[in-house]
């Protein structure tokens, strides 16, 4: 490669030298250079390629982003447990953001590529927010393909690596969605290899169910039924006891948004820009929004974030920047709240307020009683992680690895840096 670059620079120098020699006109200089016309064309083409490669870096050359994760968190008494970028799981004091104990750092060996990009060790990317049962905290790793367990003693976290699933190696595919825990403390999750896994509290396998298509969605559990969607545009209802299939509901778009179970219905949105209500027992469609494609109020982008329900109304955030308020019984559009930016973060409910953030970091509260929306804070930081709530406080983990604690009544905010472990 070095020699190649040298030969290029030599050719370029030679060309510029020749250009200078003939100040009488560019065309005259070109006329000499076109003696090697074909080579000139190739040189030009490859110089463009090399410039892109060098200036943009290997990964950007691929036109791809690096998976960096955007985990949410949980609040346990006065402690926040959150997964930061760089694979750190940390416990913070909820009042001032100070670190409680040392963060646990999860690392993964990256595969090395052909020309030096990648390789080495990196922090695990975490998209799956932590979940907790008794004193055990669980989290899924994206690029490690593992589920990790931690012991929380009320103050700090300790890795319980002997509980990790699988015990040896990994699943060979990413874990994107959150984990779900049933009333028996069993842990359920979907993996990008298309399989739904059921584990006991110590992360030993109970059963597996292969859906045949990638799963990024988080599961929802109601009584002994688990609901989960996949890239194959299907929503599955599985028996949590043995993993047998109760029913499969087919839609017109991939399902990434976590489903919401309320009473005897499961609600979910899809990449097909539709939102569905399905009967939990029979798997029959109750309603869909919009009911037909010509509907002018039709959502304009994907449903990515998890919906919420309050007082018989479903609140479905969409990446077109709107939150659609739908009648839970009929699916009729009751209201819509335009926040002006894509909604990727799953919202939270605090009292009668729905707290929702746009990708640009605008945090709004939507009052479900009087249908008023109010801007709580402008963070000016990319926001994609699910929001999580304490009493009167919403926590927003931004892409810059800052955690904001925003008082939903006053809008006052505190900023905790997860990368430096200091608060501002």
């Amino acid at each position: 490669m070095t020699r190649y670059l040298e030969s290029y620079s030599h050719s370029s120098l030679q060309m510029s030298k020749n250009m200078k020699l003939h100040s009488s006109g560019i065309l005259k200089a070109m006329s000499r250079e076109v003696i090697h016309g074909r080579n000139l064309v190739l040189l030009l083409a490859n110089m463009v390629l090399l410039v892109i490669l060098i200036s943009a870096g290997c990964t950007s050359m691929l036109g791809r982003g690096i998976a960096q994760g955007w985990a949410g968190g949980i609040v346990v008494d006065d402690t926040i447990i959150v997964g930061s970028r760089g694979g750190k799981i940390m416990a913070l004091d909820a009042t001032d953001g100070s670190l409680q104990g040392d963060p646990v750092v999860l690392t993964v060996q990256l595969p090395s590529s052909a020309f030096g990009c990648g390789g080495g060790t990196s922090g695990v990317a975490i998209y799956s927010s932590p979940v907790m049962n008794e004193n055990l905290v669980y989290i899924g790793g994206y690029n490690s393909g593992k589920v990790y367990a931690f012991l929380f003693d009320g103050e700090s976290l300790t890795a319980e690596s002997e509980y990790n699933f699988p015990r040896e190696g990994d699943l060979g595919a990413a874990i994107v969605g959150e984990l779900a825990i049933d009333q028996d403390g069993n842990v359920f999750f979907g993996c990008a290899n298309g399989t739904v896994y059921a584990l006991d509290a110590t992360l030993r396998s109970i059963w597996e169910y292969d859906t045949g298509d990638e799963i990024w969605s988080s599961p929802a559990i109601a009584e002994d039924t688990l609901f989960i969607g996949n890239f194959g545009k299907k929503l599955y209802a599985l028996n949590t006891n043995d993993g047998t299939e109760r029913w499969v509901f087919e839609t017109r778009g991939a399902i990434i948004a976590a489903p919401l179970v309320n009473e005897d219905r499961v609600y979910f949105g899809t990449f097909g820009r539709r939102f569905y209500a399905v009967d939990t027992a029979s798997g029959e469609e109750v309603w869909r929004f919009p009911s037909d494609d010509s509907d002018e109020s039709k959502p304009k982008n994907w449903f990515w974030a998890k919906p919420l329900v309050n007082n018989g109304t479903i609140y479905a955030p969409n990446m077109d920047g709107k939150v659609y308020a739908l009648d839970a019984e009929t699916g009729a559009l009751v209201n819509q709240f335009d926040l002006g930016g894509a909604i990727v973060s799953s919202p939270v409910m605090i009292g009668d307020l729905i707290i929702v953030a746009t990708q640009e970091g605008e945090v709004y509260s939507v009052n479900t009683v009087n249908n008023e929306q109010e801007l709580l804070a402008s963070l000016d930081e990319k926001t994609q992680a699910p929001l999580f709530a304490g009493t009167d406080t919403v926590y927003v983990h931004t892409f810059e690895d800052n955690l904001y604690a925003i008082d939903v009544q006053t809008g006052a905010s505190q900023k905790f840096s997860l990368s430096t472990d200091t608060s501002e």
Binding site: S7, V48, G63, A114, W216, A254, I256, T270, G272
Partner: protein
């Protein structure tokens, strides 16, 4: 182009590998007039090579005159230097757009998906519901590099064939070296890249290379590849005829190495004089090649002083 790729994938049975191949064919087909101009200009330029080489010999010491004569020659032959470059420059943004579209559509992680969502055309419902695309094609996961390393070989191989077709044979060893470097360096480089790039992109490169080979064959025949086909027992007579050439080249290189200021007998050719084969009609009688460095220097000094006298 992202949206066209997705819609086309929907039409082509959700087969994204097939979609890449078909769209590459469509785009390269639509750009065929430009490609043809470029290839023709390139071929015309190749055909002028011997004449340009003669001009270079003739006006080795007068660059201004050389430039004028070259321009005149190209004007006379209807070949323009811009003819090679302009169509290439016009096509380049389209190639880059196609390349970027393939990469974006093959979203692999959540960040890629969010990025892709910004490029989808709102009125077309199908582009939203079609994502994520089926990335399996034959043995390949189009979003990831080929684990069997067959695609790097195919990319490198087809690129070498394409390059070989348009690489001119040159008597100038410097130019020949440069051509050889380009002939091998590009395929090796792209083959190397392919080992890390998504195989969907490799598929695009292979399809694109094959189309270019077909176009080149249609416009200019097998080009440099014909020399490969001709190499056989029946060509021994041709080989025998060509045999003296390397000796001459070797001699020339040796002399260059001894003294850069020494003017070679070939370059001492004067305007209007055709000496034909080197050594045939030289005033010093030519004949045997010198067998030592000193004799080479002496011979060069002699021809230099004779040339001065003639002036």
């Amino acid at each position: 182009m992202i949206n066209i790729l997705i819609v086309l994938s929907n039409v082509l049975f959700n087969n994204f590998g097939l979609t890449i191949i078909v769209l590459t064919f469509i785009i390269r087909g639509a750009m065929f007039p430009l490609t043809r101009r470029q290839l023709k200009a390139s071929k015309g330029m190749q055909e002028l090579q011997p004449k340009i080489a003669e001009l270079r010999k003739k006006y080795a010491r007068d660059r201004q005159k050389l430039a004028q004569e070259q321009m005149a020659l190209m004007k006379e032959s209807g070949v323009s230097p811009a003819g090679c470059l302009l169509p290439m420059l016009i096509q380049m943004p389209i190639w880059i757009a196609l390349y970027q579209s393939i990469i974006r559509v093959l979203a692999a992680n959540p960040e890629d998906f969010l990025n892709l969502s910004r490029h989808l055309y709102t009125p077309w419902s199908v582009v939203f519901s079609q994502v994520p695309l089926e990335s399996q094609f034959l043995w390949l996961d189009l979003a990831n590099p080929d684990p069997l390393y067959l695609m790097p070989i195919l990319v490198g191989g087809t690129m070498w064939l394409q390059q070989k077709m348009v690489t001119p044979e040159s008597a100038d060893p410097n130019q020949q070296t440069q051509s050889q470097m380009m002939l091998w360096m590009l395929p090796l480089m792209f083959g190397f890249f392919t080992m890390s790039f998504p195989s969907g992109l490799a598929l695009y490169w292979v399809a694109s290379n094959i189309i270019t080979i077909i176009m080149q064959y249609y416009i200019g025949g097998w080009g440099g590849l014909s020399t490969l086909f001709k190499r056989g027992p029946q060509d021994t007579s041709q080989k025998a005829q060509k045999r003296p050439a390397p000796v001459e080249t070797k001699k020339k290189e040796t002399m260059k190495a001894v003294d850069a200021d020494i003017v070679l007998p070939r370059e001492s050719t004067e305007e209007g004089t055709d000496y034909g084969t080197s050594g045939d009609k030289r005033e010093d009688g030519g004949g045997s090649y010198p067998d030592s460095i000193d004799s080479i220097k002496r011979q060069a000094r002699r021809s230099k002083s004779k040339r001065r006298k003639r002036r």
